[in-house]
Symmetry: C2
Subunit: 512 residues, 2 copies
């Protein structure tokens, strides 16, 4: 008798979506921005022309290529040109400092950095800051016009189907240790994210998904990729403007929107009535939504859907149905299709209700590992589960409650801040003996970082010194990472083994 | 440097959909019939109770289990109970004769035959006709009530996630040779069919998909499985009644419907205006739709979508968009997501326009092979392509035109009839020296079989003899397979190697 279980190999390829849609629905809008809407045919043509240009300049399949674009439309063009070339995109967060980005560029061994005209000076700074000089390529706006950006250069066609397990992008995440690591996101991750989302929210063949979030994080990239897979429209706002987003949602032309809770809070200041029914869901990611914000949104009748996810799971792995939002306030919902969520219990992974422990995830949207970091990858994926570093519990109905979003992570306006990274910079400042950073609740940003420092004997942390510290840090770190306040203390709470107990410091913050 | 291509293993499991939906949307209707609607919670409970009953009677994971149900609701219950048990379902076409089904039961080594009360006498006939006596189990209607059908028997829970490549069902298809073969359909086949369909037609979270077709073919089974995967409603009509289907579609409560062209032709006799917009698509499968029927449907503004598929591809692999239906009249459309279609050209598989040859298919909905038929499986899947046996060509835009739906296949009212099978029965009749069967166009059924026979010297095929032949064949073959007419000829057209040229006989039919 045949072995029924082994009768079939799993599927290993996905189609080249862009050429598929360009052929089948050439006139449909692929990406809409305030400034311009481009159809699938236009996007395909521009991607092929840009791919030809990049190829002529030396970009090859499998190479890692950094991308820094201030304009969403140009970011999307780079993404598609790199898929066409089968090069690996490394989206770079331009809110970071040039030194921080230079580290990422070096770490992934990027061969090039692409940028749009707006980001060109900054990209140059990044490229120069890298130990190994990395060539930058400015992708001009003219790439959207004409047949090819380089005279006589033939269009470059995609290589056909793409391997399901091939790496599409490397997205940097600081992880719990504060050391940025490149998370490898595969095409399979995108495909299953798109399918899970369709199963969760349905799929309107005329979907228009608004993303006023940065495209360099998985949240923004996910909207671009899902719209691509569906052959629908990604509506991109280059920066979050509450009035513009409110206006777009009120127009009835948006069917789904991805937001971080801070953005929702700002929208609620403007909104007095529900949005039209075309808007099926407001996806909240990046951080847990403060209860008063969620309650206000539900009161207003907004279709909010709190989710849980991280870079290593390529966006959401759990989402709460609107039907349960009130009853399960504070929960991030249940796992999406094909995803398993468990908690690390005393005897291993468990879904038993009430057990508190590290949140574990299994499924097709879990990333392929950290680029060039075998050990960290093995640790993160030990035992076949992704170890998220977040603490949570499941209830008797399988709803996930995230108790501590990564042990020490500070989430500020949707950006992750890892205290260890800031602490290491603080320790380099003159007179600082020890330093600890934690988040402080903030109405506008969700959280903001504050620092506790131990100064050299006899040194006082004056206001003037604090200002100098802040200025110094601004030259080294992204603006949102610079602590909003510095407090001098005699000693920091540490365990016997010297590990910083940030939990204790958070108590100091809460006690004022 | 890491090998980026091999960084991730493809996904290997799927969730247990039924328990998932029973937990998350217990009150939603899973299956609606004229007689009764059952919710996901009810279906889950009944499936677990029935699984417990079957387990107590000896049904075990991996066993093949025949299913003969006249009532769709009972058929669906058997399907879910068998998934719960991880046994392989062998849906049996009760329009076949007991002898034909006994062959299938023997061929797949079925350990049991399940049936509903209505089909019990027939199932007994099948079981008795098998060389090795196969026990039949009647699944009672009471399985829908109470907690367990056997006193004190605990409910049987599904074994959790299911392997993507595990075989879900074995569906018999006669293939080109006329010898029925069991096509192994995997969970992966269903999953990708469901996703491809969502990408093609969108996915309404409140989908209600009407299936007035038999559930024992992949067309009907596909609707049950897709609705299961989506967590939406399958609306089952136990037999096609044009007025009832028309009424259902006109009610606005149906969002998708699967039909064979014959059914559409009958609907058109009743319909004078379009259906409400809730009906997004009328999927046509099983055979090419006659041009006048398609034209009339399009004139009326019906959202018809001609598709191409076969048992070995677990339903549709190509479907034509409504947008192209008129311009590409006669085409079955372009491949669905993840599917590749090519034509066997002189130098191998090609997508070059205009080349006529055997249609080849690749993709995740291609079946896992024929049960226990290594050689036929290897032939069917040679070179990594499914060899469909159908002849077709692609045009310059990638649209598929099926020129001959399997060389000799007769499609009558959605049922496949393989001439070779009928011919072998004809040859056993007294006085018949040679026989050939081909299809004749028929307004109602699409095609009906007619027979050309060579009689022994001096024997004339009188009307009386024809009637006797017909009666004899009715005892051996399904009713629809019995030729509607017998014509006596002096000789049949055969090649030098003796192969019957049915093409020539079809010309006789067309010339009257």
């Amino acid at each position: 008798m045949m072995n029924l279980e082994r009768a079939q190999a799993p599927v290993a390829f996905l189609p080249d979506w862009l050429s598929l849609h360009a052929e089948r629905r050439p006139g449909r809008v692929a990406i809409a921005t305030e400034e311009r809407s481009v159809t699938y045919a236009e996007l395909h043509r521009a991607a092929k022309a840009t791919a030809a240009r990049l190829f002529a300049l030396g970009v090859r399949p499998g190479q890692r290529v950094g991308v820094i674009c201030h304009q969403g439309l140009m970011h999307a063009l780079c993404l598609h040109a790199l898929i066409t070339l089968r090069a690996v995109m490394v989206p770079l967060n331009w809110r970071l400092s040039p030194a921080e980005l230079a580290y990422q560029v070096e770490d992934c061994g990027a061969d090039f950095v692409l940028c749009d005209e707006a980001a060109a000076p900054f990209a140059e700074q990044v490229a120069s800051a890298a130990a190994r000089r990395v060539p930058t390529i400015v992708v001009p706006r003219e790439a959207w016009e004409g047949e090819g950006a380089i005279e006589g250069q033939p269009m470059r066609e995609a290589a056909g189907d793409v391997s399901l397990t091939a790496v599409h992008a490397i997205v940097y995440t600081s992880g719990t240790t504060g050391r940025p690591k490149g998370a490898m996101i595969t095409y399979q991750n995108h495909w299953y994210s798109a399918m899970a989302s369709a199963l969760q929210f349905g799929l309107d063949p005329e979907e228009r998904w608004l993303v006023p979030m940065p495209l360099f994080h998985v949240g923004g990239m996910g909207v671009l990729m899902r719209s691509l897979i569906y052959g629908t429209t990604a509506v991109v706002h280059d920066r979050f403007d509450a009035e513009k987003v409110d206006c777009a949602l009120a127009s009835g032309e948006i069917t789904l929107v991805s937001l971080v809770p801070t953005m929702l809070a700002r929208l609620l200041k403007l909104r007095r009535e529900p949005y039209p029914p075309q808007l099926r869901a407001i996806l909240l990611g990046g951080a847990g939504c403060p209860r008063p914000v969620l309650e206000r949104a539900l009161e207003l009748g907004l279709p909010v859907a709190q989710s849980y996810g991280l870079t290593e799971t390529n966006t959401q792995v759990a989402t709460i149905d609107l039907a349960h939002a009130l009853r399960k306030m504070g929960s991030s919902g249940r796992p999406l299709a094909n995803v398993r969520i468990a908690v690390q219990g005393p005897d291993g992974p468990t879904t038993a209700p009430g057990v508190e422990g590290e949140i574990l995830v299994q499924g097709p949207t879990v990333f392929a590992g950290y680029y060039n970091r075998k050990e960290e990858t093995e640790r993160a994926l030990a035992g076949g589960w992704l170890h998220t570093g977040d603490i949570g519990r499941l209830d008797e109905e399988g709803f996930l409650y995230v108790l501590d979003r990564r042990q020490d992570l500070i989430v500020s306006g949707g950006e992750n801040i890892y205290p260890a990274e800031i602490e290491s910079q603080l320790l380099a400042l003159p007179g600082v003996m020890d330093a600890g950073v934690v988040g402080k609740p903030d109405d506008e940003w969700g959280q903001v970082p504050v620092a506790f420092v131990v100064m050299e004997a006899g040194t006082v942390l004056t206001d003037e010194r604090s200002r100098a510290f802040r200025e110094e840090l601004r030259s080294r770190l992204a603006h949102y990472k610079v602590p909003v306040a510095f407090y001098q203390v005699d000693a920091l709470p540490r365990t016997a083994s010297g590990k910083l107990m940030r939990y204790e410091m958070r108590k100091w913050v809460m006690q004022g």
